[in-house]
Symmetry: D2
Subunit: 339 residues, 4 copies
């Protein structure tokens, strides 16, 4: 590690996820330092900068892009700015970590990826769940052939509570906002590509979600090129907490990953046997994965090796989300080749 | 119990399931006795009769139907004879326990149910899994409102090994032979009716199953009248044994039933932590349920109460299997109202 | 099996355990038939005989011993009669299954074992837990060397509720009545002999147990000849049900057996994750083992092979119980060689 | 938090545990900063200082004690120096976090505690396991009365591999080096004091440990003042990894804490069902607890509140270890009042 250059980063966006990445980069990632943080709400940038001893806080992200001493940026701003920021950052020669999704629009995504390719910089997309120890172990066992050929893949992904209705309205819909992580997980775990999508879904949790033009409950069937079949079930509200399980079944066996809990206690009394609920939500459940993804991004820049989640990995789930949306609207299976 | 009449039964069919029911009725069901057993292969009937001290063994089941001292029959013959035997038994005024499915053909089923209704006898269909303690407990919790409104229902149902190809050829296809139990379970657990079916499936286990015109791997999506969404995943071959799990998720919680194992040991060594595989197949896994369903049938006759699994319960899963078959053929969701 | 002689048994005692053995022998053990059942309370014998189609019910067990057509007896009477009945049954040449313990007195035990040896009949002691699938699997793994040399052995054995105080007064004390099963289990699982015993115990559950001269809570340390150390913890009252777990730890690994439950359901709601309590008590928990021990007894008579639990296996736990009693009284470790 | 003073610490000792505390204090504890680190091996102090941006590295800890700007010290040096360093630090008015045990000698401990009391500084002892989420939850349930009166307490504490023989020779013996954590846990979980100790133990893992005058396998029985009975089992070598479980059983229920694993995967194949081993050793298993104990120490200094683990909490386990050692030597139960 000692001979590797320290990577200086600028963080763009000081909202919830921006703060997490800034803190991890500043304190938990060997070989990384944060030179600046930008947010249109300057006070948010300043507060985080002060807490984490980041030298520069600014309202205008151009200050980061214009700083020749900064090697890489972490784009943590609102989704509608991602593609544009990727293009701008690439033009200044910065390596890029960008939160998912790149955009809701394939043309914008393609423009961003073209800019990255032209600039020859690295781009890593923030599909952090790939770095979760449970799912990583499942992937490893699939890749090592422990389950043989994949026949059936099951993903359960349920939030503890729906987001505010105002958020739902601008979220792009459940498939772009929530299931997109599961689409990525399906590709990651199977090592295969999705060919066709079928959606059964509805509004079961909160009628206001329906009024906002979205659904809150969905079961998605995926058909993979290699012949495996996947099923994803989503709900915006699991009263027992964040439910994040996967199962891969194949010719030689099955591997399942269960939820994580805050502790391992089991309590037995006259009523039954009781244990802890899953960790509440993604901040608790996936904290380790946020650190791990950033570690690998920094290493990829340091060692000039390919990033572990590529631009193509960011583009394909958007296509699957488009196919899912169409399947739900048209009540039929939709092929990705139709998109 | 003492004041209840002992029910005398005739068992029609001395194959695998006939032997099980004969033995349970002869030795484990209070208030039941077996008067006769019939099988076209007389030696099969004789062998079972001798072992279980059943007074009469015969090749022709009419001997049972003609015996005025026999109160009820258990129809355990091949599927193609079920509907005809129900009609004949009903005409002789015998109460009827019949293995699933009644027939592959709705007209035949309707004829059988009409005969039963006309004769005023009881008919119970052999959907034994409803009597399994795990699934019964799940149903009880759903019925008691413990999970609130049902949103998502998941059934995993995988056999340890495919049946012989000769059997596959006459089985009616995976949906009539295997998934039919899961269709019944979906209705039983949810307390709701299926409105629409979508199937993704293929041949992943053994190409000879495909050559026989069947598939061996399937993921079925069910849409219920009440808005819940169900998913069933089937495989003809799980190398780790018979996989029989269900999960019901709703507005107030989730209840899951896991597999049963031959013992509870857990072994930890330098390689990992190891425990027992699921019980091998349905004879091991569901033995208690075969006893329990027959106990309830006998009680229903003794007490003149409705049988716990009715003729309608036998008819509807056949309709769902038809819709599933059509969905697979036509690659689209199929409504039950189309059948 | 066909060529093996059917064994005709007489059951002595029609109390709780006598009824269980009579029913198992009459209906669930291939190759066994029950010719007679005796109980001083004639009506108890008659009721069981009628229910199970046993030809003879009598008040005087001599009627069984005098019946030359009876091959074997199952002694299920009160403990104070066991040794005498063994002697008498042996003299009439009957093979003997006897409930534990043989007696509270080594001289009586030795007299009984001598009579058995002289008569050349088989004697099996009713340590049924050896036939439980969980413990049998643990024993098998230890015997197969899967855990290497045994270092530590842990037994948890807790009843759901204390017996009536009247029973406690004549029970011989917790070590003879309850822990004796665990002493047998310690020998069975380790394949080793106990050399020394130390007891820490007290009255924690019910002061009336203390007034009756007994204790209700105990932690027993066992030192084995081979150097392993065992610990048994007992309570007369676990509010969550019958707690029967064992763990064997050694140089190559550990094997643990957990409790059995009536079903496998897991319920998750806003309060936590909940599952079923252990099976309530020994009748539920050990029913399979009662059948299995009797099957092996019958086979041992049929095949003239050694019974799986010998007279010596019945004697040694009594010695350990004596050492435990003395350790508790004298507040010091006691060697078995002192007994 | 904002109004609380930042606490400046000096870390004494840059060995394994010193490095952990230095890193946690420098990067993960809000309100703490590390001003200096001392180690007789200056290069060790320098290396850690450089890595963590600690301004001062020195060979002589007096440099820390003499620095008036330093508020508190973390004593992470070898055990034989703890008591003396506590005395010296107290005299300079520094608050003190000290690794366990304070000393092997009660006179030295009493001298240290007297110095602390006289100086009016805070002293917290490094029994980090109290801050582990599993054990903390168990303690909370016991304290909240969820299990009623405590009857039986069980602790399993097994290392994955024995320490080097050179370390064993100076470790003070298994009870001072390893079981001392379990003695503290027994007091913490029960909320009660130990009255009597009995040990059964031996050399089962490695004869060289015996040659060094120590044992490697032990089962300790504890009798508590309130009548509960505890049992601790220790081994220096569990091939499956670090085994850290506790169970508290009482009049109203039982609460158990199981091991932690690196991930939640379960793999089923033709051989069985397999999952991950426990986390390897204390660094992996207890990392969170090292952070949490230090957070609470810093808060206790900031808020002038009592530290969560006191000097008395450091003294009593040493007494229990002494009683355990005597019990093993004299092969009898030993009362703490004898020490």
């Amino acid at each position: 590690m000692d001979n590797l250059k320290t990577i200086r980063l600028g963080v763009i966006g000081a909202g919830r996820i921006g703060k997490i990445h800034a803190e991890n980069l500043a304190t938990r990632i060997p070989g990384a330092s944060v030179s600046a943080i930008a947010d249109p709400i300057l006070s948010a940038a300043q507060e985080t900068a002060e807490r984490l001893h980041i030298p520069v806080a600014c309202a205008d992200y151009h200050q980061i892009l214009d700083d020749a001493d900064i090697d890489a940026v972490a784009i943590c701003s609102s989704t509608d700015t991602h593609a544009r920021l990727i293009v701008e950052a690439a033009r200044t020669g910065k390596h890029i970590f960008c939160e998912k999704p790149i955009a809701y629009d394939l043309a914008k995504i393609d423009e961003a990826l073209a800019a990255v390719e032209k600039a020859g910089v690295k781009l890593q997309i923030g599909f952090n769940r790939r770095f979760d120890p449970n799912f990583r172990r499942v992937r490893q066992m699939v890749r090592d052939g422990k389950i043989g050929d994949v026949h059936i893949l099951r993903i359960t992904s349920r939030d503890p509570a729906p987001p505010p209705i105002e958020y739902v309205k601008v979220s792009g819909g459940i498939f772009f906002d929530m299931t997109i992580h599961d689409f990525d997980m399906a590709r990651y775990l199977s090592g295969d590509e999705v060919e066709e999508v079928y959606v059964a879904g509805g509004v079961r949790v909160d009628p206001r979600i329906g009024e906002a033009g979205d659904i809150d409950t969905a079961v998605v069937t995926l058909i993979f090129k290699g012949g495996a079949i996947g099923t994803i079930d989503n709900s915006r509200k699991a009263v027992y907490g964040y439910d994040q399980r996967v199962e891969v079944f194949g010719s030689e066996g099955m591997v399942t990953a269960f939820n994580n809990t805050p502790d391992s206690h089991v309590y037995s009394n006259a009523e039954g046997v009781h244990s802890a609920k899953p960790l509440y939500f993604f901040l608790e459940r996936y904290m380790d994965s946020f650190i791990a993804e950033m570690k690998e991004f920094v290493e990829s820049v340091q060692k000039d090796s390919p990033p572990p989640v590529t631009g193509a990995d960011g583009r394909i789930p958007v296509m699957i989300a488009m196919a899912a949306t169409r399947s739900y609207m048209e009540k039929r299976p939709v092929k990705l080749s139709e998109i």
